[in-house]
Amino acid sequence: MAQLNYLFKRLLQMIPVLFFVTVLIFTMIRLIPGDPARTLLGEMALEEDVQRLRELMGLNKPYTTQYFIWMKGILTGDLGRSLVYKMPVKDMILPRLRITISLTFLSMLFAVILSFPLGYMAGKNKDKLGDQVIRVTALAAISMPTFWVGLLLMILFGVKLHWFPVGGWAETPAEQFKALVLPALTSCLMTTALLMRNLRNSVVDISILDYVDFARSKGITETRVSTMHILRNALITTVTLLMMRMAWMLGGSVVIETVFSLPGMGKLMIDSIFGRDYAVVQVLVLAFSMLVIVMNLITDILYSFLDPRVAL
């Protein structure tokens, strides 16, 4: 199958990118001012103790050696230790990964549920009142800061109406879902607006093409014209855009999880930066970029399924 060949080719191409990504991450962390050993032991510690800890931590070894030690650790599953939490990073990441991915996935779901019908309707009723309203709403949604929207939603639905919890995580799956609703709604806002606009424009552009009229001329139902001909073509770019936005939404988890106090990867990252817990930051940035790379790959392959004109 052509897709498998392409997949293999892309995986090979990914290797140099991955390499440079790890080098970039490692270098950036190294560039952060301050001495990790000193931070651990505190301001009051003796210089010789700091030096001894530096030896122990391998901080005096040359740059490349430290890099290889780190990479070897990554590849064998040793992701380092958190200075702040005093536990292996590996144990900390997995539950948080679950939360961030659930948040992103739910956001995507909301974005699709909201944007597809509205975008389609706007496109079908071009320039009528519904279309104008939708376009104006989309424009406003793109221009608003997500952290503000999140807080507003929290005030309205959490504090005033008590429909959803005011931030924080929960134990049972049902409660966890409720805890994700407001954050996911906040996160999906900009993506929904962009998808709506994109789908609307696609539908408008495609509706006037000859093949839509030709399909109609065969006497098939208008529903079939809308689904198999208009939507089927219009959705190609919209789905691609959705996949691209997923990468953005992953990054947005930093702000959303901070606003709603969700214990996910994003919040951990911010906390670790302030706490100077750089071993954690390193691994988190790497995890985020791996997710993005995988998502891009899936997008390309998905696109080739959607549009048979694309030769891989």
Partner: protein, 287 residues
């Protein structure tokens, strides 16, 4: 015969609405941006209170004639803080986008036109940098550089050039093979002249359209960084950081979060409207 056309004239009402949205969006956006600009340049004209003055007697005061937007946990007047913050945020948007726009366009022109080694290097850099979610990249850079407004600008500049570069590069690659460029080459014009006089005017329009939305992006990114505590540091008033101080108190002092966000949104909407109107204008002109 004309009766039949009159029957369908009710559509004209809807057509007028369309005209209002289209042609006026640029005007409406410009009005908003103009007002914001005035606020930024002459904050003293709108308030006579000191944005960083503390008043322990009046903490968490709700909006009143004396404190239009209420006060925060230090008793500072939110209204004046929001007004004075206008300049900071506007600068974040406008200055944040300017360097990436220029650098990105130049790089895009060069890589699109010449290709070769430069193109390969730049594309590899783009590949690596775009492997990170945008926000993650931003805070990673801020982690290295440290917080503060100057570092926020540097971080925005380091990440912002990429989209402009890609956009201009692909348009340049298309323009490179167009007939008028071929004709110019045959006529013996220098590369520099071709790029500046022939290619640039044609590829710049999509970059300018993106510019309008990117101003909003830069402003919101700067505000986000400040919100997270990485960007503008207190007590400098900035909409994102003012909002952030209100976070712990939303149940009983929501005004601290509501008003700065409102100003951010309105400013953002203003620029977006301008961008929208610009897109339409450029699209119809191109026909």
């Amino acid at each position: 015969m004309d009766n039949s056309t009159q029957k369908f004239r009710k559509r004209k009402k809807q057509d007028t609405f369309k005209m209002m949205i289209r042609n006026k969006s640029f005007v409406a956006g410009s009005i908003i941006v103009f007002i914001v600009l005035i606020l930024a340049l002459f904050p003293g004209a709108f308030t006579n209170q000191d944005p960083i003055e503390l008043d322990p007697q009046a903490i968490f005061a709700p909006p009143s004639p004396e404190h239009l937007f209420g006060t925060d946990n230090y008793g500072r007047d939110i209204y004046s803080r929001v007004i004075y913050a206008t300049k900071i945020d506007l600068q974040l948007g406008v200055f944040g986008v300017s360097i990436p726009f220029v650098i990105g366009t130049i790089l895009g022109l060069l890589t699109g036109y010449y290709g070769g080694l430069l193109d390969t290097i730049v594309m590899r850099i783009l590949d690596v940098m775009m492997a990170f979610p945008f926000t993650i990249l931003m805070i990673a850079i801020m982690a290295v550089l440290g917080s503060g407004i100057r570092n926020t600008y540097i971080a925005i500049w380091l990440t912002g050039w990429m989209t402009f570069c890609r956009l201009v590069r692909s348009e340049t690659m298309v323009a490179k093979n167009s007939e008028y460029v071929m004709a110019a080459k045959v006529a013996g014009f220098s590369d520099r002249r071709i790029l500046l006089r022939h290619v640039l005017p044609n590829v710049i329009s999509s970059a300018v359209v993106y510019l309008a939305s990117d101003i909003v992006m830069c402003m919101l990114t700067g505000a986000s960084m400040s919100f997270l505590g990485l960007g503008v540091q207190p007590p400098t008033p900035e909409w994102g950081s003012i909002l952030s101080t209100g976070r712990g108190f939303i149940s009983f002092a929501p005004w601290i979060t509501i008003f700065p966000g409102l100003f951010l949104s309105i400013t953002g909407i203003g620029f977006s409207l301008m961008g929208d109107g610009l897109t339409d204008f450029l699209r119809t002109k191109g026909r």
